[in-house]
Symmetry: C2
Subunit: 383 residues, 2 copies
């Protein structure tokens, strides 16, 4: 299997982009990544997007974006795995280069979420849950996560305030990220004072949606000089779990995360403690907690302790959300996985600025679709 490397990254600031269309956002991120890679051509384009079909009345982003980039006849396709779409697109691009049929690929994650009425976006987001078994009963994603969080608090005796550390860490890191949706810190008090969204999830437990686009360029790693450092894809792995939460044997365990990360550790030949930075999928603080546990960074029910003991900070044992995570960088759903990858690449290049993790050569990203139903894990190594 041909090894691949990431040679270019591009991000736009996540926010409410009233002045930019879906294709303009995607194009901007793509051009930044191509410029960073020093390429003006690739062999294929892979788009990660979840909900343009319902939210923007536009599918067929592959052809649309290749056309917009003025790359005539370029192979270009969309990949969807709910909020895990970005990383799923990246994985398919990695497999395409690994096959030998492509030598390079551009992967773009894009989502435009703030042009439509809120109710329409909540309804579009709900298409990632089970339409027949969950959404028809009136459940939304925040409600599903609230059910999980309530059960977790009951089982392991944590209070709502114990989850504040995840969000405080994310916001502290986002202060220094020019692409983040929010550049302001939060405190235990502002967490406690924030309005309840769906008990026990308050506004500061929940990530923010937004318009966003990020892109990366990959190529065969043997294209690159063996003397200069390069960022290689050391592992790529995906797994699914039941789409509906009610069919999950254990709602407090992300089995697909465990399955996917174990396979990734095996491919990379490492153990979790060798990972220097972990861009996790903190769509809600309960997801941050479950991710740390299922991926082997702490024992069951112990993640809030890890967070409260500052072990997830830049100087901690397992730095997470180093650019703000979904909570503060923002969560433009289908684009999120590519932001995570771009951020790990920044870390491994030593270009992470104020939130640079020192002496680190291995980073991991994990992108989650649905309530833990589609999980895609990647490990990157500076070689």
């Amino acid at each position: 299997m041909q090894k691949t490397a990431v040679i270019g990254i591009g991000q736009i600031k996540i926010g409410e982009h009233w002045d930019k269309s879906l294709r303009e956002m995607a194009g901007e991120a793509a051009l930044l990544a191509l410029f960073d890679a020093g390429l003006n051509q690739v062999d294929g384009i892979f788009i990660g997007n979840m909900m343009a079909g319902s939210a923007n009345k536009q599918v067929h982003l592959g052809a649309m974006i290749a056309d917009w980039l003025n790359m005539p006849f370029m192979e270009s396709v969309s990949i969807e795995a709910a909020c895990g779409s970005g990383s799923a697109a990246f994985r398919n691009a990695v497999l395409a280069v690994a096959s030998g049929q492509m030598e390079s690929a551009l992967v773009i994650g894009v989502e435009k979420m703030t042009d439509s009425p809120t109710l329409e976006i909540t309804s579009s987001l709900a298409t990632a849950a089970d339409a027949d078994l969950e959404v028809d009963m009136g459940v939304s994603f925040v409600a599903l996560n609230a059910l999980i969080m309530k059960r977790y608090m009951h089982e392991y005796h944590w209070q709502t305030s114990d989850f504040a550390a995840f969000s405080i860490n994310a916001h502290a890191n986002a202060v220094h990220n020019p692409y983040a949706r929010f550049n302001k810190p939060i405190t235990l008090k502002s967490f406690a004072d924030s309005p309840m969204v769906c008990d026990p999830i308050n506004l500061m437990d929940a990530s923010s949606i937004g318009d966003g686009a990020a892109a990366v360029v990959i190529c065969r790693s043997d294209w690159l000089s063996s003397s200069a450092p390069k960022i290689v894809v050391a592992a790529s792995s995906a797994a699914t779990d039941t789409i509906s939460l009610q069919n999950r044997k254990d709602p407090l365990w992300l089995s697909a995360a465990e399955k996917s990360s174990r396979e990734a550790y095996r491919q990379a030949g490492i153990t979790p403690d060798e990972i220097g930075v972990f861009e996790y999928h903190d769509a809600f603080s309960i997801m941050a907690a479950l991710s740390l546990e299922a991926n082997g960074f702490c024992a069951r029910g112990e993640a809030p302790r890890l967070a409260n003991e500052n072990e997830i900070a830049i100087s901690g044992r397992i730095p997470v959300a180093t650019k703000g995570g979904l909570k503060a960088r923002g969560h433009p759903v289908g684009a999120t996985g590519i932001y995570q990858i771009a951020e790990v690449v920044q870390q491994l290049r030593g270009e992470a600025g104020e939130t640079q993790v020192k002496n680190n050569t291995i980073g991991m990203t994990q992108n989650i679709g649905g309530s833990g139903s589609s999980i895609v894990t990647h490990i990157f190594r500076r070689e």
Copy 2:
């Protein structure tokens, strides 16, 4: 690059399946394909679907269908390239097996189109066109094709009735296909008498939508005994063109089809006249004509002559739509590409019954998204 082979196919009859959900249809086709392959497990699932997000309020088909198939933790993802989604999913599966990271894969094309109001489906179909430059102006897919057909008739001096031969051939073949939406022949008179949909496209120039699901199983070809005949993927290629028709330099030439098939011929090491059967994308009879020309089966403007001289019949020079094509087998958009592949496999296995093409070892499929904007071509060979 690891060679791949198709070892299982499954199809359900295209129609109005009021009694079956999206997952039930996909599951049925998948189980038929797995049974045909003699497997109960694969390494990954690839779903081709275009519009479940808008038409069925359901994305995340990857996790949903893996769950429904009771394949715990199975990697599973959706691929979208408008009406070319089925073949795009197949291509991504082929690349995954070619990479060596998977040894086998299940590819399912599925679309549920008849549960929703007609206007909603027309609007969902239109998401494959350019939302900003085409759909906002009120144009639908049939209108785009009518514009192309009118121009074609003007340039090459053909009459509406000259296009009847494409539809008559498709319906004649569909009579013998138990999975086809329509099992009845049509005549020049019924073609001429059919109501106008969008001048010059009448009802018999247009393919029929429907609920449908088809599946194929692929594996590394070196899994198979070298003595028994096998159906290998001899070529896989994709290309795009402008998403909007107005930006196309020449609306009468499918440049992406030319690009994609030339690359496929190169990979397979053949010329067009070696192809024994061609499952083309006859969404409208004008698309049938343009496909034959761009892929090198006749000169520009000559396709209606080919059809009227019976050269596209089972006994003709280039048999097409041998199971009814999009016109009569039906066009459940995201599933169509997989029906095409299953049909070519039936032909190469010698299991095509009444419409079997004799002495044929090479077949081609071509799946088109939008008005020629995403084109995916595959060549299969019995070895």
